[in-house]
């Protein structure tokens, strides 16, 4: 009996794994089990119910956390782009560019996945769009079903590893607080933190590396087994360079503006996300109302360019003592341009509303955001109880006692995250497991940025591991009947292996992850 009572923390974790499988929403299972075990622990004298008084403050700090403020805005940017037909246009143009090459269609899927990843970061949207457009094209042209399915599924998951992405924001938050805990535990008084910008910078090169690995694999495979990925038989039409540019340039400008301003340290992720969402709206508006006048949108874009130029040439700060007449005139021009911009944005909103797009956009923004934050709150309640029962000490003892020291502990955590990825997705894994294990790994002396990158690739893998990778799930929903579920599962295996190779590469060559943040943030 005393053995059972002494291992309440362990039983709690086992009970969690069992209960989650029943299928009740994870967040409530997590929080509810936490409360039940708090009561059980109080009854047996192993838990102090007073600890739960911290709950209110914890929830409050989650909802007022300025880092996480960027999440709803990035989600909104993604759901707007999802409905803007940009993915469709990109796919058509890329297929025209690369389709004639052996394996070219699959490569163009990966490249479009990369572009969408850098602008939206929403897995579901990317996979569904590609499954509806690229998959039938590949099958018609005689592609192997497994390769076609694998290419689409893996391309969809790039959204998580290539910044900006919600996953990386949450990961940055979790790593940062784990890093602070580790430093306190080591007795340091002035602690360093990790910013979202640093994690974005750290994930960029490895993300592109994953793109390179996928493309290389597709090309090698289609060279070795030409019948799996033949060149496109049907003509996709003439390549019109002007059209390619007009499709490619707007999203690339958006990517450079959003990502560049964050990595350059100019803007906070929240600010950049709002620019991204407004930009997405401007891209979507002409496509949502093809017959309406383009001038309001064009004028708004011109106004933005004008504002950028003016703020370079003149001192437009309005809150100062003396303003020269020239500056004053420039300020008036800037105000006029701002009015034009505001008008363009209003028109864009109106058109999105008329096209029936605005309602679903705000609804998914709310439900996705509420889901993520409820999970953060539930996990916070769970970890409060888990720590109160002494679970964190047990985890620390367990990890530091692993054979092989640092490497053993790291391997164990990575294996754990990988296996959990079969059943859970990144939100659950990063808020339930990482806060418990990350501080221990960092105390053992690992570099937080390096660790974050390896965990990020590992979490990306969770989207593609059968049976419950989200990406597979979306593909199943949108793929034609002739693609069997087993084709999807077998098709993704090489890409899962490529991800494991990616993790191994970052482990062996840490600079893949740490070089860019070191360069940008010192």
């Amino acid at each position: 009996m005393s053995l059972i009572v002494d291992s309440l923390d362990l039983i709690l974790f086992v009970a969690l794994c069992a209960a989650i499988l029943a299928g009740y929403p994870v967040v409530f299972t997590l929080a509810g089990l936490g409360v039940l075990f708090a009561l059980l622990g109080t009854a047996t004298g192993h838990f102090d119910l007073g600890l739960l008084r911290a709950l209110s403050q914890r929830v409050y700090s989650i909802m007022t956390n300025e880092v996480l403020l960027a999440i709803p805005l990035f989600v909104m940017m993604g759901v707007i782009l999802e409905r803007s037909r940009i993915a469709e246009e990109l796919l058509e143009e890329m297929a025209r560019l690369f389709g004639a090459v052996r394996g070219g269609l699959a490569v163009s899927v990966t490249l479009v996945g990369m572009l969408l990843a850098a602008s939206t970061g929403i897995v579901g949207a990317t996979v569904v769009t590609m499954a509806l457009i690229a998959l039938p094209t590949m099958l018609r042209n005689g592609y192997d079903r497994r390769l076609a399915a694998g290419a689409v599924t893996s391309a969809g998951t790039l959204g998580q590893i290539i910044p900006p992405s919600t996953m990386l924001i949450i990961l940055a938050e979790v790593m940062s607080s784990g890093y602070q805990q580790a430093q306190f535990a080591q007795g340091k008084f002035s602690v360093e933190t990790i910013s979202v910008g640093q994690v974005f910078a750290a994930a960029l090169v490895p993300g592109l590396m994953m793109v390179g690995l996928y493309v290389a694999w597709i090309l090698i495979l289609s060279a070795l087994r030409p019948r799996m990925a033949p060149p496109m038989a049907e003509s996709a039409g003439r390549v019109d360079p002007w059209r390619v540019l007009s499709v490619l340039v707007p999203p690339v400008v958006l990517i450079v503006a959003v990502l560049g301003s964050i990595l350059g340290g100019v803007a906070t992720p929240t600010e950049a996300a709002s620019v991204g969402a407004i930009g997405a709206l401007m891209l979507a508006a002409p496509r949502l109302a093809p017959d309406a006048s383009r001038w309001p949108i064009r004028a708004a874009v011109a106004a933005v360019i004008g504002l950028l130029a003016l703020s370079r040439l003149f001192d437009l700060r309005i809150a100062r003592q003396e303003i020269t007449p020239v500056d004053q005139a420039a300020i008036w021009v800037a105000i006029a341009l701002t009015v034009v911009l505001a008008w363009g944005i209003a028109v864009a909103f109106l058109r999105a509303g008329r096209a029936g797009v605005l309602k679903p956009v705000v609804t998914s923004t709310m439900t996705v955001t509420a889901m993520i934050f409820a999970m953060l709150i539930g996990a916070s309640l769970f970890s409060l109880v888990f720590r109160g029962l002494g679970g964190d000490v047990r985890v620390e003892e367990f990890l530091t006692g692993m054979p092989g020291g640092q490497l053993g502990a790291l391997a164990f955590v990575m294996a754990l995250v990988f296996v959990m990825g079969f059943f859970l997705d990144f939100v659950e894994i990063s808020v339930i497991v990482l806060p418990i294990v990350v501080p221990v790994l960092l105390i053992m002396g690992m570099d937080p940025i390096w660790l974050a990158v390896m965990i990020a690739i590992n979490l990306q893998t969770s989207f593609m591991t059968p049976p419950f990778g989200f990406s597979l799930f979306y593909l199943r929903g949108a793929a034609p009947k002739e693609v069997r579920t087993i084709d999807i599962y077998r098709g993704i295996i090489p890409f899962v292996i490529l991800n494991l190779i990616g993790i191994a590469l970052v482990y062996a060559v840490p600079t893949i992850g740490t070089w860019l943040p070191g360069l940008l943030f010192g």
């Binding site: 929403p25 739960l52 909802m63 803007a267 809150a319 439900t367």
Partner: protein, 177 residues
């Protein structure tokens, strides 16, 4: 019996439908204000804490008041390795038990431990988070009990609906020859 339960569930649904379908528009407000603050900061070189905090208030309202509606539209993630294949009765049993054993205790705990700090905050009409901000922290603190209450209401609807499925099954099995 099943009809009665279903009717009550539908009545409870209206609460979160009304709240959710209103609160979702906060997302537009949040985006517009945040973008305006970007223009103010990077073009006109001024930034107001008041504006910054209003984005934070809208953000908090969106995610806390939207949680109940998210439950209503199945937005909270389930692990459906077994659930996905289960019969409607089995799903109803999982939902009924899960709500009573997990959701209710969790929400009651959040309600129980956030209530006192909300009351205290209202008594002193607690001011802004930082100097120059919106002097209404008590509104933010009220969102926590509201979050729990909305989830309890939606949880009740889910439990009633599940009970209806279970009740309908029993009457059909015993009622038909």
């Amino acid at each position: 019996m099943a009809d009665l339960l279903e009717r009550w569930a539908a009545r409870l649904d209206t609460v979160n439908a009304a709240v959710g379908l209103t609160v979702r528009w906060v997302a537009v407000g949040m985006l517009v204000i945040q973008f305006a603050s970007v223009v103010l900061r990077y073009v006109f070189g001024t930034s107001e804490i008041f504006v910054q905090e209003s984005v934070l208030y809208l953000h908090a309202a969106l995610l806390m008041l939207g949680a109940g509606y998210t439950l209503a539209v199945e937005g909270h993630v389930r692990v459906d390795i077994f659930y996905g294949e289960a019969s409607p009765r089995r799903k109803a049993a999982v939902d009924l038990i899960g709500t009573l054993v997990f959701l209710v205790p969790a929400c009651v705990a959040i309600l129980r431990y956030s209530w006192p700090s909300m009351i205290r905050s209202w008594q002193i009409l607690e001011g802004p988070i930082s100097v120059g901000g919106i002097p209404a922290s008590f509104l933010l603190k009220s969102l926590i009990p509201a979050f729990a209450a909305l989830l309890l209401i939606q949880g009740a609807a889910l439990a009633l609906r599940s009970a209806a499925v279970l009740a309908a099954g029993t009457t059909r099995e015993s009622g038909t020859p």
